[in-house]
Amino acid sequence: MTLTIDNLRAYYISSGREVRAVDDVSLTVQTNEIYGIAGESSSGKTTLIKTIAGAARPPLRIHSGSIRFDFPNRTVAMQTATETELAEIRWKHLSYVMQGSMNVLNPVRRVRHSFIDFAYRHIGGAMPDFFTTIKDHLQRLQLQPEVLDAYPHELSGGMRQRVAIALATVCRPDFIIADEPTTALDVVVQKSVLTLIRDVQRALGSSMLFVTHDMAVHANLCDRLGIMYAGRLVEEGRTADLFRSPTHPYTRHLIASLPRIGAMATAPNLAGSPPNLANPPPGCRFHPRCPLAIARCREDVPAMVQTGDGHRVACFVTAP
């Protein structure tokens, strides 16, 4: 099971203006691997997720490039997939844990109905058997079966997130996309939810794309990490390598700004703020804020260069 994305461009087009939210991104996610995507807000990571999940609604449109899922028994190119094709793979092969999971469940129906709507058409069988599978699955995620009869507003935030994760994994999908699943939770609940995600992923052996701005979460969860800045992938590699030797100046800044226990100096601050994607700066989009920027950075766009085993970076100065 692999996900391959080649030179994907996805823009927001409305009344003549063009916002280049995702601008020529290429990456691959292997089987049984958690690939993390990090970057500040408005770095285009949510737009990337939406296009990958086939949820691009006007004014967001895929301009060019391809997204290919190689599931065990079928391949699907998302940019050209038909509605019926999408419907077949959704939740069976590809599932999704949304950002604001607080109200992804239908507020006026009991949780049980969500499971029926999302999973029944894939699992099938008589209703009692279907519900025993569901209940076993919930057991495995330390969730009581009574949760099925509750209304979403009767559950706590953390509980609702766990149910969302249970829902996303009940059909044992090959690929799970998680978009900031723990952001809205407090730290304690966040820890238990992250461990839950890791255990489920290990149990199912499915690949996962994990998006968050919180580098600490990436550190203890993701196998490989990609750093997004202003709609482009600036560095990618094994998480351990990136944390030990960040190459791209932006990655260095991100790692450096992580609070360390006992560190007294305040984290270095970065001048300026992320560019406006409506008219991004020419060349490398980080150059206005990059302490190492040289003349070339302002004209040309740095390509991704292999710098080590599976470690790529797009920077004229730091890349070898």
């Binding site: 409305s14 009344s15 006007p58 004014p59």
Partner: protein
């Protein structure tokens, strides 16, 4: 922004036509409630563009006077009821607590009570002394409740905003806050509810007059249809006596309605966004 909004443009054009006809009533050659000033039952022709009635009146001049009176009536009712709904809506929204609950429960009473029997009773009691202004006053006192609730919800959202606190801390009294701070926010809502209220009151006026429950001497759209029914115009084939007032009042309703709808969308950002997306 409004120029591009299709409903607004149509609404305005329709209303200008109606207002033009109403204004032209000044040049009417005969007093509006005199009868047999022209030959009766003449179908629309060059001499009489909209034909003449069985009572010997020119349908066009009768219509211009009728629409003027009806609009005047609708406008007076809307004006008075706006004051009521604003006063009650803002105070209830702003003060909240016990006063809000009391005002709102009374408000809900007036929403629920069927108003038509009460209005009919008022006519029945007042009889000859029932002037148009009195009827307008009564309708205004019964017609403020629906919009008071709308205005209260706006006031509630405004109260939660910071600038209300800063105003209060700077020593402004409640009424000052309501007038200077909240009113500018509330005015667009008031405009759209006024349009709806004019529609509501004209609708009731037409209905009351057609049943003969108003003063049948002053020409309004309802009274015109009342007299047409007295002369069984539709059956007698004098269709133009009923078709033009019904058509004109329908145009007025749709015009006012489109204005109210377009103004609503202008106020509610989210629906403006959805307009963007299509």
């Amino acid at each position: 922004m409004l120029r591009r909004n299709r409903e607004f443009v149509i609404g305005v054009t329709l209303l200008t036509i109606v207002l033009a006809i109403a204004a032209s009533s000044i040049f009417a050659p005969y007093p509006s409630n005199d009868t047999f000033v022209v030959p009766p039952d003449v179908p629309p022709s060059w001499a009489y563009p909209l034909g003449t009635t069985s009572r010997g009146q020119d349908v066009y001049w009768q219509l211009s006077a009728a629409i003027r009176n009806t609009l005047l009536f609708g406008f007076t009712v809307a004006l008075i009821s706006r004051c009521l709904s604003l006063a009650i809506g803002l105070t209830a929204g702003y003060l909240g607590g016990f006063i809000d609950r009391v005002l709102m429960s009374i408000n809900d009473t007036f929403i629920v009570i069927p108003l038509f029997p009460i209005l009919v009773l008022f006519y029945f009691v007042m009889r000859d002394h029932m002037s148009w202004f009195l009827l307008a006053l009564v309708m205004a006192c019964l017609g403020w409740s629906y919009d008071a609730r709308l205005i209260r919800s706006v006031a509630l959202s405004l109260r939660a905003r910071e600038f209300t606190d800063t105003a209060r801390f700077s020593g402004m009294t409640t009424t000052q806050i309501l007038l200077r701070e909240h009113l500018p926010y509330v005015l667009p809502i008031v405009f759209s509810t006024t349009m709806n209220n004019i529609n509501w009151s004209i609708g009731l006026e037409v209905t009351l007059s057609v049943l003969g429950f108003t003063n049948i001497d002053t020409p309004t759209i309802g009274v015109m249809i009342y007299w047409a029914n007295q002369h069984t115009a539709m059956v007698a084939g004098i269709w133009w006596w009923i078709a033009f007032p019904v058509g004109l009042v329908a145009i007025t309703f749709i015009g006012l309605f489109l204005l109210a709808v377009s103004m609503n969308e202008y106020i509610d950002p989210r629906s403006r966004l959805s307009r963007l997306r299509t």
